[in-house]
């Protein structure tokens, strides 16, 4: 830890490595509860009969269903654990996220989420010395197609 840097050699070594893989099934009820919690009445996310009558043939998951917590909460949780173990500051804020939606996700899909640390940087902010980690998660469906990629910013101080 040179010059009071928050980023340790151990953290540098974590960058780019796959740190966790989680498999989860996309369930109808989970999609409906998610849409209801947002207050999104879109029938594609709520109405089984309607969704089945569309070209998709099943309930679709709203964008961001694969966001940080969703059942795949675990991949990013595990990243935090690795970072904290490697000496990162314990206070965490969610800085934001970027999604690339490649194919629709729907009920019945079985997704494999693979997560890694894409980048670690630090700078002085009003919170003091602050570390920014980009957590990259790739979701692949049961057909082997990549359906979503996301990059979340984790702020630690």
């Amino acid at each position: 830890m040179a010059n009071g840097s928050l980023i340790t050699d151990e953290m540098h070594k974590l960058v780019g490595k796959t740190l966790d893989t989680v498999v989860f099934k996309v369930e109808e009820g989970a999609i409906q509860r998610y849409a209801q919690a947002i207050g999104d009445p879109n029938p594609l996310f709520n109405d089984l009969d309607y969704a089945k009558s569309t070209k998709h043939g099943r309930l679709l998951a709203p964008p961001g269903f694969t966001g940080w917590p969703i059942k795949a909460g675990r991949p990013t949780e595990k990243l935090f654990a690795f970072l904290v173990k490697a000496g990162a500051p314990p206070r965490i804020l969610d800085g934001g996220i970027e999604f690339e939606f490649i194919e629709p996700i729907g009920a019945g899909d079985v997704l494999t989420a693979t997560s890694k640390i894409a980048k670690v940087t630090e700078r002085e902010t009003k919170l003091g010395k602050t570390m920014f980690t980009t957590a990259e998660v790739t979701y692949v469906n049961q057909k082997g197609n990549t359906v979503v990629r996301s990059w979340a910013t984790i702020i630690q101080f």
Binding site: Q36, I38, G39, N42, G67, F99
Partner: protein
């Protein structure tokens, strides 16, 4: 849902149909359950104070989900949301509940957006937007961007 928007209907500067939202303590509990984010920062007064945010705050990911709805509502079933990003810049505090169903009076949040670019690429009609959630004072607490493909009439 609103009628389908087409590529020809929008120009740089066009508005994405705004979406109003009211964050309540009840909604935060519902979101915690649906998303699996049980951080007490979003429901426990003392914990939120100790974390330095004063009171429980709205989940960033919930505001992000609102922005997802803003865009899927706007592009309709024939459009496709291809990219979405946002940053959690400002804290938002939910309205408390007055009855089982009704919140107290207070602010309403608006999800908004406007078109920044439109172009054809690889046979697709692409539209890029600046999007954000603004609070009752008009402050953009959650700025972001989206990239969509819209159907074309021709």
């Amino acid at each position: 849902m609103a009628k389908q928007v087409y590529y020809e209907d929008v120009e740089v500067g066009s508005e994405v149909t705004p979406l109003p939202k009211i964050a309540t303590t009840r909604m935060l509990v519902q979101w915690a359950g649906a998303s699996g984010d049980f951080n007490p920062l979003h429901y426990e007064e003392d914990f939120a104070k100790a974390m330095g945010v004063g009171a429980p705050i709205v989940h960033g990911a919930l505001k992000r989900a609102w922005l997802g709805q803003l865009m899927t509502d706007w592009v309709g079933e024939e459009g496709k949301l291809k990219k979405l990003s946002c940053q959690y810049r400002g804290m938002d505090y939910p309205r408390k509940m007055k009855t089982m169903e009704e919140p107290h009076d207070g602010q309403t949040w608006w999800c908004k957006g406007k078109v920044t670019k439109k172009y054809e690429e690889g046979g697709q009609h692409i539209v890029e937007c600046e999007i954000w959630v603004e609070n009752g004072k008009g402050e953009k607490t959650t700025p972001g961007s989206a990239l969509v493909a819209l159907p074309a009439r021709k």
